[in-house]
């Protein structure tokens, strides 16, 4: 931590595990998601780069601020969301590449910044003075109470499993062992967490476009909406990358591992899309019941099993 190489740091933040790589991967995942969902529904679907076209188009659109909005919070929310998710993306090991910023306890930092994202969205939604955004922000806040718990237990389990709070140690301790199967409940709980965090279909309650018109983003136009979309893309790549880092053992083969990592991220995104495409949206009270009880119990169960197996 003492002697940081500034150029390498900038490279990490802006290019390789950071902004450029993760936004590229995220846009690719979002595009594949739309394509794959269209194929399931028997359509041809948009081109894979469609999310990129949408983003670039939003940059040339006019930027409107509603007259009654709280201007400071309204402007700050997309920047906060984008900044926190880009920082997280610079901390995540891809393959066996160790980010320079990684330190003991970085997974706790990652947890905080991933929660910050939701707060940014809630701030943006409630400051834009639109009733639909307000409803949506309230729904997101209700969801936040229940859906962060699986991530906490995943981090706790992985910390116990690898006896370390450093993400790169968690990555390198994984091996193909039969005992690794006991991580299955926590992996499933984490998968549910990804779907709730990205508000994908069974859990797309805060952005339900048929009831509350995309919710939080109702009043956002132009560049600010583009920032939100971009942070959503980066969030997608960060959360899938974290899944691979936590649960999938890979051999250390330099850049080949990085390619395998990307391929696995794509496969995971396809699995998530499949779940998304076959389910309809549930109500907020059903979400609290299903997620708050069953998924959280699964996460706690997974944690307890690992605790006992590690002889504690």
């Amino acid at each position: 931590m003492t002697n940081l190489d500034i150029t390498l740091l900038l490279f990490e933040y802006l290019i390789f595990p950071g902004f450029l790589f993760s936004s590229g991967l995220g846009i690719l995942l979002l595009g594949l998601r739309r394509k794959f969902r269209a194929r399931i529904q028997g359509r041809r679907g948009p081109p894979i780069l469609q999310p990129l076209y949408d983003l670039l188009k939003l940059l040339v659109k006019e930027d409107i601020e509603p007259a009654t909005a709280n201007k400071t919070a309204y402007k700050l929310a997309p920047i906060l969301s984008f900044a926190s998710v880009t920082l997280v993306s610079a901390l995540i090991p891809i393959g066996y590449y160790v980010p320079q910023l990684s330190f003991t306890g970085d997974i706790i930092l990652i947890f905080y910044f991933l929660s910050m994202l939701v707060f940014a969205v809630i701030i943006g939604g409630s400051s834009s003075s639109n009733p639909y955004s307000a409803v949506s922000a309230a729904r997101f806040a209700t969801m936040l109470i229940v859906f962060e718990l699986p991530l906490v237990f995943t981090i706790a389990t992985m910390a116990v499993w690898s006896k370390s709070l450093m993400l790169i140690n968690i990555v390198s301790v994984k091996k193909f062992r039969i005992e690794s199967l006991i991580l299955l409940p926590i992996a499933i709980a984490y998968l549910f967490y990804i779907m709730a965090k990205l508000h994908l279909n069974p859990f797309s309650i805060p952005v339900a476009e048929t009831e509350i018109l995309e919710g939080i983003y109702v009043e956002y136009t132009g560049r600010k909406l583009a920032l939100f979309e971009l942070s959503h893309a980066i969030e997608f790549s960060v959360l899938t990358s974290l899944f691979i880092d936590f649960f999938v053992p890979l051999p250390d083969m330099g850049w080949v591992t990085i390619i395998i990592h990307v391929v696995l991220c794509i496969l995971l995104a396809i699995l998530i899309t499949f779940i998304e495409a076959i389910f309809a949206r549930i109500r907020i009270d059903q979400f609290v019941k299903i997620f708050g009880v069953y998924v959280n119990l699964l996460a706690i169960l997974g944690f307890i099993i690992v605790l006992f197996l590690m002889g504690w």
Partner: protein, 145 residues
């Protein structure tokens, strides 16, 4: 710059559907044009729920006196560059209701219309074709802002 932006706007078309007191026939056909059978998403067309996100406003119906304030407001809420496509005979000319005491007249009396799709109601193919032809007008209009 305007060439780049017009080619971008052609690839990603977010459509807002605005009913100004129509009989619901054109609305059903618009929804039909967005179903998996016609698959508007393959051209980047997406139905959005809010005028703030819209690039193209699809207007149906003769503008009735009751709706006129809201219709004007929705037009103003849509960010530039935007296009207005009038769908159906009522929106284009007033159709059956032309000269009625309860309508303001066709849509182009309220705000400028860029493209007209005739028919009562127009077929889904025509609506989709109309949207895709209308977005070429982004280039001609240039930076109107």
């Amino acid at each position: 710059m305007s060439r780049i932006s017009s080619s971008l706007l052609k690839r990603s078309i977010w459509v807002y559907h605005l009913n100004t007191g129509s009989c619901n026939g054109c609305d059903i056909e618009i929804v039909a044009a967005l179903t998996p059978r016609f698959d508007a998403e393959r051209f980047g067309v997406r139905l959005v729920g809010t005028p703030r996100h819209a690039d193209v406003i699809l207007v149906t119906g003769p503008v009735t006196i009751q709706t006129i304030d809201k219709v004007k407001r929705i037009y103003e809420q849509t960010p530039e560059p935007k296009l207005v496509v009038a769908v159906g005979t009522c929106a284009c000319t007033g159709g059956l209701f032309k000269g009625s005491y309860s309508i303001k007249g066709p849509v182009n009396k309220v705000f400028p219309v860029d493209y007209y799709i005739m028919g009562c109601p127009p077929r889904p193919h025509n609506i989709l074709k109309g949207i895709l032809e209308a977005v070429n007008l982004f280039k001609k209009r240039g930076d109107k802002k």
